[in-house]
Amino acid sequence: MKKKDLRIYKHPILGDMPEKKKIYIYFNEKKLTAYEGEMIAAVLYANGIRKLRKTERFKKPRGIFCAIGRCTDCVMTVDGIPNVRTCITPVKNGMKIEFQVGLGKWKKKIW
């Protein structure tokens, strides 16, 4: 686990990473440690997960591209809702994040 952690804990300019409350999220059922205030995509990247979804037309994988919520490349299915921009959506304890295929499926019952 530690080995794959790509967080920058020590930084020559920014100093040590501030202490934050530890929480857990699930990526395709896999339990991951996250810290309060982190963005979903950042937690996944910290764990070496860069493939966030597969596109509709050419079935190609996508990851983070703009990191500020504009390009919508990082969208995933979060708590049953597809197309959530994970680079600007903070994690919540117990959040369920799923790899999105194409337009995704509404896991959340909508009717």
Partner: protein
Amino acid sequence: MKNKKIICRCKEITEEEIIEVIKKGIKDVDGIKRALGAGMGLCQGKTCTNLIIKIINRETGIPIDKIRQQTSRAPVRPISIKIISE
């Protein structure tokens, strides 16, 4: 798909498709949007507009400042129905 260059990342429109439409006489961003749907995806053309302008410029020789650009309409970010309808 191999070596095809995607231009509109959302709708996965390729450079080839755009060039084909330019050859049919479409020479501005809005026209390409209407003909192909490029720039009509989730991000609403935020990433591809500049690339499309460059392709039009390269294919037609029209100076970049003369190529008509895409318009913008509210909302500039996706906003859920339950919020925006209030």
